[in-house]
């Protein structure tokens, strides 16, 4: 069936079977392979994207369900070649090892900051319930999200107004 999807600010018209999952439309059709697939059970969060700014698992959604909504993937965060503060925080704080879970962690991290602008470490830990990492043991991921939140708050009030909420 024909469907229109808005991804990272660009409108796309796609002709896909009804059963196409959003993650497959993003990866296989739009070649946005930063969104990963880590499980078959809707539990790992590697596929997390934003739908109207809210984190969802793109493996547990049909592409057609995203019609009329704004989809943001990890590829949509950097602006003019500059990493988003949350991406930079993962880099600085070594919030990844193999990197497989990282796009999902960053998208989930931004959803945490949306709801808790200055999250404490306990909040971050609890809110990362839906994202699994097989490598890091989570400590640096949690530090990176806290630092990313700080950087976003600073950017919102400081030299780069308007970037505070990510997108």
């Amino acid at each position: 069936m024909e469907m229109r999807l808005e991804v990272n600010g660009t409108a796309h018209r796609l002709d896909l079977p009804e059963r196409t999952l959003l993650v497959h439309a993003l990866r296989d059709q739009l070649r946005l392979t930063g969104t990963h697939i880590g499980c078959d059970t809707s539990q790992c969060g590697a596929c997390t994207v934003h739908l109207d700014g809210v984190a969802v698992k793109s493996c547990t959604m049909l592409a057609v369900q995203a019609e009329g909504r704004r989809i943001t993937t990890i590829e949509g965060l950097a602006k003019d070649g500059a990493l988003h503060p949350m991406q930079l925080a993962f880099h600085i704080h070594h919030g990844l090892q193999c990197g497989y879970c990282t796009p999902g962690m960053i998208m989930a991290g931004l959803d945490i900051v949306r709801r808790h602008p200055r999250p404490d470490l306990g909040t971050i830990r609890a809110e990362l319930e839906g994202n699994l990492c097989r490598c890091t043991g989570y400590h640096n991921i949690i530090r990176a999200i806290a630092a990313g939140a700080e950087a976003m708050a600073a950017a919102a009030t400081g030299e780069r107004p308007g970037e505070g909420q990510g997108q």
């Binding site: 539990q43 997390t48 547990t60 959604m61 049909l62 057609v64």
Partner: protein, 267 residues
């Protein structure tokens, strides 16, 4: 996933017509249960009737004596809504503890009730609270709605429209989550009203139920510590790879005792 047709009606009457026209059609709400089940090829509906735009199924509002929650309201919306937090704070906390943030952003109360997973959270709350479930054709008491494992009183093609929840200042939900999914290994919802206590247990394995012996004991002055001696039918518990039946039954007593220790019961 097997192939299927898809439609997205904007009115309840259209959704009901689509469902009535095709016995193999299924409603799609948040998809957080239905899509994984279809991906595993455990279900193969011919048509999905997406309820996302059916306006009659949305809305959270204070209603006489309590709250009315539209079937398509997400767990996240219910957890965060000021009226729910004020009138039924235990229900808001329960919703905020379902799965993970991504699941809560999509999953709906209507989908959870219609699915009636024996380890789901909402059924315990609705049974203890004596909530009513409004469908497109009737209103059912929670105890008549939940009929067994993944079974409800819904007829084919019947939709949950809303849930009526009485205000519940003195109530608490305690869940021992299964660590991978966060579903209830065992969960207990305890309510105290002027008429007495109501205790509902989910996660036992045979479907949600009221622990009436505990209700009677609490009504006659027993405390959480006394629950160890209160009869609890072992037939209501089953074992699986996550926990044995005996362990689940033991957790049920602990969950109720912990719920009773909630500050909501202090006054």
């Amino acid at each position: 996933m097997h192939a299927f047709a898809y439609c997205r009606p904007a009115a309840l009457a259209d959704a009901l017509r689509e469902l009535a026209a095709d016995a193999e059609a299924r409603p799609l709400a948040g998809g957080q249960t239905l899509l994984p089940v279809m991906r595993a090829r455990l279900a193969a509906p011919s048509r999905l009737v997406d309820l996302a735009r059916v306006r009659e199924l949305t809305g959270i509002a204070a209603a006489p004596g309590g709250l009315r929650l539209g079937a398509m309201e997400t767990h996240a919306a219910i957890a965060e809504h000021p009226a729910v937090k004020r009138l039924a704070p235990a229900l808001a906390r329960l919703a905020g503890g379902i799965g993970d943030p991504q699941v809560r952003n999509r999953g709906t109360i209507g989908g959870s009730l219609a699915n009636n997973d024996p380890a789901a959270c909402y059924p315990a709350a609705l049974l203890a609270l004596g909530a009513a479930i409004e469908t497109d054709r009737r209103t059912l008491a929670a105890e008549d709605f939940f009929t067994g494992l993944f079974a409800t009183a819904l007829a084919p093609g019947e939709l949950v429209v809303a849930v009526q929840v009485p205000a519940a200042p003195a109530a608490a939900y305690v869940k021992f989550p299964q660590p991978a999914s966060r579903f209830a290994l065992v969960g207990a919802f305890v309510l105290r009203t002027e008429a007495g206590y109501r205790v509902a247990i989910t996660g036992g394995g045979m479907g949600v139920f009221r622990w009436t012996e505990a209700e009677a004991a609490l009504d006659s002055g027993a405390t959480g510590a006394d629950l160890a001696g209160v009869p609890l039918d072992p037939e209501l518990f089953t074992g699986d790879l996550h926990a044995s039946a005996r362990y689940r039954r033991a957790l049920a007593r602990v969950a109720v005792a912990r719920a009773l220790a909630d500050p909501a019961f202090a006054a």
